[in-house]
């Protein structure tokens, strides 16, 4: 098991390297420079600024410098915010974005898996239909419609929760629900389909035949096998949640990493754009690895075969 994890971990490094080089080239070969948007600067000043950030050297040399810096955990300077390093900006924004994503994920798992279990256990009943209609609704309402509507109702009409900002727990409820609902809907459908799949398998029939109470069969035996599709979807879901939080951070005025990214892409703030892309790709790769490991833990058949 440890060998399997280690091998997969080593496999991530070349992938990450390809991503870094590809995004470096895309952003660098794009027309425009970080300094064109400012008011006109004398040519000599521009040359000096570029030399200061090392932008005057040939591209491969810059890439080499960047990779060396990265290896030391340094994302380099930001051209838009010269007084702060990319590391500082990320260290400030990322925990907020992550908190938001985790709250959303918790909400999605709670509601989604719950609705999925109800749907599967009472298949084709009114409960099932209600749960699946909710799921379809959740998938179809975009976050940028749901978010403002929630603010309209809960903050501006009933004065229950703050409409924006970040600080205490009351601030994350509405953004979390906004961000998580679509994933709750996906999880509900995955859970229902996964459970229905295992309902017909032999080991569930055995469990029933042993005379186990229904709740034990569902929670001890069916969930373990039936949740595999949900686990598979966890990796992409977390990645999408982090991207989706760009919108939610805008709606609720949350000082996460999202607003910086859009800004940085516009201003060709190479360091900041690269920093965010690299960090999120690394997180995403780690999540996928974690999912693979969880998969092996949950399903003995995969573990026995070795690497999936």
């Amino acid at each position: 098991m440890i060998r399997f994890v280690f091998k997969r971990f080593l496999g991530l490094i070349p992938t990450l390297l390809v991503i870094i080089v590809a995004s470096f080239l895309i952003i660098r070969l794009a027309p425009g420079s970080p300094f064109t948007q400012d008011r006109a600067v004398p040519k000599s000043v521009l040359v000096e600024i570029e030399a200061k950030y090392g932008l005057d050297k040939p591209l491969p040399v810059q890439l080499g410098h960047y990779l060396m810096r990265l290896a030391h955990g340094d994302f380099g300077p930001s051209t838009k915010y010269p007084q702060r390093s990319v590391n500082e900006i990320i260290a400030e924004g990322l925990p907020i974005t992550l908190t938001l994503s985790l709250v959303a994920l918790a909400w999605a798992l709670l509601v989604g898996v719950g609705a999925g279990i109800i749907g599967a256990v009472r298949q084709n009943s009114k409960w099932d239909q209600a749960a699946m209609a909710f799921a379809m609704l959740g998938i179809s309402i975009p976050t940028f419609v749901l978010g403002p509507l929630l603010v309209l109702l809960f903050s501006l009409h009933w004065y229950l929760l703050p409409p924006g900002g970040f600080g205490e727990w009351r601030h994350v409820i509405l953004p979390g629900i906004t961000l998580g609902t679509a994933y709750a809907a996906y999880f509900a459908r995955l859970t229902r389909a996964g459970l229905l799949e295992v309902t017909r398998s032999d080991y569930i029939r055995t469990a029933h035949a042993k005379g186990l109470p229904e709740s034990t069969v569902i929670f001890r035996h069916m969930l373990r096998g039936g949740l595999l599709p949900v686990v598979t979807f966890l990796g992409p879901a977390i990645a999408h949640l982090m991207v989706g939080s760009v919108i939610v951070e805008k709606i609720f005025n949350i000082p996460g990493i999202g607003p910086y990214f859009v800004d940085a892409a516009f201003n060709r703030d190479y360091g900041l754009v690269m920093g965010i892309v690299v960090l999120e790709s690394a997180l995403l790769l780690m999540m996928n690895l974690l999912v693979d490991v969880m998969y092996a833990v949950l399903d003995p058949r995969i573990r026995l075969q070795g690497a999936p």
């Binding site: 940028f144 309209l152 799949e197 919108i247 892409a265």
Partner: protein, 288 residues
């Protein structure tokens, strides 16, 4: 191909029995019709257009004259919503087409080539999967500017991965079948075998995934428009309208609610239709 004929026929019969899918299909047809012919009719009958401002009529609540109300600049919101729906549907459809085209070709070629070429091509897909692709789109849009054509190309360019995987899986099992060997024996070129024999046989899953891509493309166009990266004013898209509405929602609630409802119901119907098509075309395929 008589075998294939009954397959499509059976699928059609199954689809027609699925009431939700049929209702969704009619709803979408209605929306497409209204978006296509609504704006010119409204223009000739009432003189409303999506960009002519009439500031003295600014921000009126829904009434008989303006059933969705008017926006801040006095433009009829119903006209703007229809016009926005037109752009959203167009971008969604074209982006999904681009994605389906690239994905199908890539997946089919990869599977047909097999061996090391196949594993190299699929490894590339794996790497792309690990990219936070919405960030890539944001970068692409800021590089190439915010034109409509580049918007759907950028969206399509990052959304073909799943189609490629599905088509590859299908072609892998198809290419061992006798009819492919027969074609090879007749001396058909590889391009002909892929284009004439393999891809037509994978059309079912491609169509299903295509219908499910359209709503997600519409959603992503709206995502970009909401961030101010999509189509530019005065041209409306549903996402841009919702963004405007969200900024003014405290006083002018109708500017958020109506475009929001239209957007959600279009996505709702497209998703139901996609689900129905999947059940009809491949009853074995698991409902996710």
């Amino acid at each position: 191909m008589s075998d294939n004929g009954t397959l499509w026929h059976d699928a059609w019969m199954r689809l027609r029995k699925n009431k939700l899918a049929v209702v969704s299909a009619w709803f979408i047809a209605g929306v497409v019709f209204m978006c296509a012919f609504g704006p010119p009719i409204l223009h000739y009958a009432w003189g409303y257009s999506y960009d002519a401002q009439a500031l003295s009529y600014g921000a009126q609540p829904p009434s008989l004259n303006h059933i969705f109300g008017t926006d801040f600049h006095g433009r009829d919101l119903f006209t703007r919503t229809l016009y926005g729906g037109r752009i959203s549907l167009l971008v969604g459809l074209l982006a999904a087409l681009v994605a389906a085209f690239i994905g199908t070709l890539y997946g089919a070629v990869s599977a047909y080539a097999g061996g090391q070429i196949d594993s190299a091509m699929m490894r590339f897909v794996d790497v792309l999967y690990a990219l936070p692709y919405m960030f890539l789109v944001i970068i692409l849009v800021t590089i190439f500017g915010k034109s409509l054509a580049l918007l759907f190309i950028a969206l399509g360019l990052v959304s073909w991965l799943t189609t490629a995987r599905i088509v590859r899986g299908q072609v892998l099992s198809l290419k061992e079948r006798e009819f492919v060997q027969a074609a090879q024996a007749c001396g058909a070129s590889d391009a002909r075998i892929i284009g004439m024999h393999l891809i037509p046989n994978t059309l079912g899953p491609i169509i299903v995934y295509f219908t499910l891509t359209v709503p997600s493309m519409i959603l992503q166009e709206a995502f970009l428009s909401f961030l101010g990266l999509g189509v530019q004013a005065p041209m409306p898209s549903l996402g841009a309208l919702i963004n405007e509405g969200a900024n003014n929602m405290v006083v002018f609630w109708w500017q958020l609610v109506f475009p929001g409802i239209v957007m959600a119901s279009i996505l709702f119907a497209l998703n139901f239709l996609g689900d129905g098509l999947r059940d009809a075309l491949d009853p074995r395929m698991q409902q996710q």
